[in-house]
């Protein structure tokens, strides 16, 4: 009799009705947490780095910390339009008691001032101009009445006032940014200001996207006859890019052991296989992985995506993603995406914004199984989306996001507050 009778689980029948079809054929299923633990141990940050021009480095991950080679500013400077003075010369000045000083020159940004501020004198100074020697403060122009030769101070300033000190912003030798920093726009600004033009960042994880299935037409063509057009390839390509990985786009492979075996051996860091991940006669990838590498996890107590699997082949991490699009998205976000992010030196967390909101309807689940429920946000409440089939990718398009129901939960009641992961 068949391979199926062999792995069939009688306890499913004793329950009467149909067994959970997503679990058919799996003797033992690992928990989502087991799978996360496997991923977090298997996916170590890639050591290789590459140099990229500063303007292209936003969102890349620093391969090593950056220490400033320079002081910023590189000189003391006036921080306001006004007059560079010796603060003692204007002490006690006020509109009622103006103090007069001789203007002996002007200081502009970009060049040192040739004159010196001696007692009883001042130098007209623009914002950003190097502080003239002798001066220890800048009197804001609002406190001055003046003509070309003389200035009357209408207020006083303490020593150092409105003076930006050399190294005030960045001190030479100070660590500017730590290893594994995901570079922000302002980080690029700081790096530019100390003279950095190229940044050493971690190499992006290389990901092969392998789409199996004889009935699957490549993305980009029209659906025809009894064939369907691949939805997973373009989706996975976009998800990999989102997580900082790089892929050459999907490869389409027939349900043929040799072709799939070859695909699994691509020279990459991660292989994503969509379709044929279960225990059916034509599910070749899990068997090949088990024979030629390590099939660490196959079958996970979750819905959808329970036929997902993962393992290693040589140095590669291999993720077996169910062919149906929702399961594929879910299995990627739960496991493969985590691996891509970790390999790239990023946080393992799902890159979704989360908010807390009450459920407007109950979400039922089963103890021992983790659920990924697509939901809408309606008037500040979370509304589960009715699902007529696991393969309904449309639900992930209509959904605002998803709620994860942990395996130790039977579900959540109407009114319970849940964490909504927002798709974007």
């Amino acid at each position: 009799m068949s391979v199926y009778a062999f792995v069939m689980d009688p306890s499913q029948l004793s329950r009467g009705g149909l067994p959970d079809v997503r679990m058919h054929g799996f003797r033992h299923r690992k928990s989502v947490v087991d799978a996360w633990n496997w991923v977090s141990h298997a996916a170590r940050p890639i050591a290789d780095s590459e140099s990229v021009p500063l303007p292209e480095s936003r969102g890349r991950v620093l391969a090593s910390s950056v220490v400033s080679p320079a002081d910023v500013p590189g000189f003391d400077r006036g921080m306001m339009d006004g007059f560079a003075v010796r603060s003692g010369d204007v002490q006690g000045a006020s509109p009622q008691n103006p103090l007069e000083l001789e203007i002996v020159g002007e200081a502009f940004p970009g060049a040192p001032c040739s004159q010196e501020v001696r007692p009883g004198t001042c130098i007209r100074s623009m914002t950003g101009a190097p502080l003239p020697s002798g001066a220890d403060a800048v009197l804001p122009v609002e406190y001055a009445e003046y003509d070309s030769e003389r200035m009357r101070a209408l207020g006083s300033v303490p020593p150092g006032k409105h003076v930006g000190r050399r190294g005030e912003d960045i001190r030479r030798g100070a660590e500017l940014l730590p290893t594994d920093r995901v570079l922000r726009p302002q980080d690029l600004g700081v790096l530019a200001s100390v003279g950095v033009s190229e940044v050493q960042v971690r190499r992006r994880p290389r990901v092969a996207i392998v789409i199996t299935g004889n009935e699957v037409l490549p993305a980009g063509v029209q659906p025809r006859g009894h064939q369907i057009v691949d939805a997973n390839g373009p989706m996975l390509e976009a998800l990999v890019a989102r997580d900082g990985g790089i892929s050459g786009g999907p490869d389409y492979v027939r349900d043929d052991p040799a072709a799939i075996g070859e695909a699994l051996r691509r020279p990459v860091d991660v292989v994503l296989v969509s379709g044929g991940s279960s225990v059916g006669a034509e599910d070749y990838a899990p068997r090949i992985l088990a024979e030629e590498g390590e099939l660490a996890i196959h079958g996970i107590a979750m819905r959808p995506s329970s036929p997902a699997g993962m393992g290693t082949l040589g140095e590669r991490l291999v993720f077996l993603l169910p062919g149906n699009p929702v399961s594929c998205l879910c299995a990627y976000d739960f496991f493969a995406g985590m691996a891509v992010r970790l390999l790239g030196g990023r946080s393992p967390e799902m890159p979704y914004r989360t908010i807390r909101a009450p459920l407007c309807r109950k979400l039922s689940s089963e103890v021992g199984r983790t659920d990924y429920a697509r939901v809408r946000l309606v008037d500040g409440e979370i509304e589960p989306i009715a699902i007529s089939g696991a393969s309904i990718l449309r639900t992930t398009v209509e959904a605002d996001g998803f709620v994860i129901i942990a395996e130790d939960s039977e579900g959540m009641a109407e009114g319970d507050e849940a964490i909504l992961h927002l798709y974007d």
Copy 2:
């Protein structure tokens, strides 16, 4: 006497001590909300669209809604490995009462099945195979014992069970995605599945980044002498890209009216001018804008960035950003970024994740002024970063994000819950 004495505000002196230097020279300052209102009226979505290949469309904005040209799936299909049956033939079947059917063929994905299921017969069917004619359900293989010719049903299935109906996922003619959808990975999957290979998206707003200042060296070189290297150009380039705009990188322009005037007339949707935004003798951009276009807002009751301004020159929106990097970042995020996002058909909201957390120290402000306070998140509490000068870009690198203190607030007390905008 000077232009400054002319615009000087005596009330600042009457307060004694120094006036708020960020506000010097501005007679009337608009509120942040006034500026937001101006931006939301001035920045209308750009009507032009362009066609991009589906794989490059993630994060782009749909120029029009997409209606499905096809049913998905395009045919009824079996959703499990098992046997295509007439449900009536297995009614009442159980392990104790197996019902036997003749196997008259096999159905595989990708091709129609040539045989028909007549009463008393069934067809072996793989997941995804077109449903053979005559059959109305699929009996999961777990419920079957069988050899090559005969199948014994150990369970029953109602009509339609495990059958995916034509159009079940997507119905031809249904709206798949609305106008102005920012395309998600799964959206690309859905579009591919209905045969879309090119997507019509809004043209990206074109942004000119103009960096002024004779003392400023272009990003990419080493700081030297009494000159400083531009930090704002690379930062603004990255911010514009983040917000879906496109720029050719920064242009460096001397403090010269002709050069700045020319820069303001670049053929773009938005001009960002960094530096020379205030009311000093060398602040040319505001005057040129006032003379040749409309200087709608100049001087804003906020800290930092109070010397910021905005207006229009022909069709262009022009934003005058203070030269100091923190003010530049703040003014971009408050106003210019909002304009870039609106022009591109995106949400005006700042694209930062936010969390609520208590302040571990008070944050003082002034009624009538909006503050942008850089903060750290320490053990779940918000810690304001001590700031020795507005130009300290380093604070935006050390900070985890910022807290906005509204103009009607005198600040927040220790322990108050604040909204933290997380940099990333």
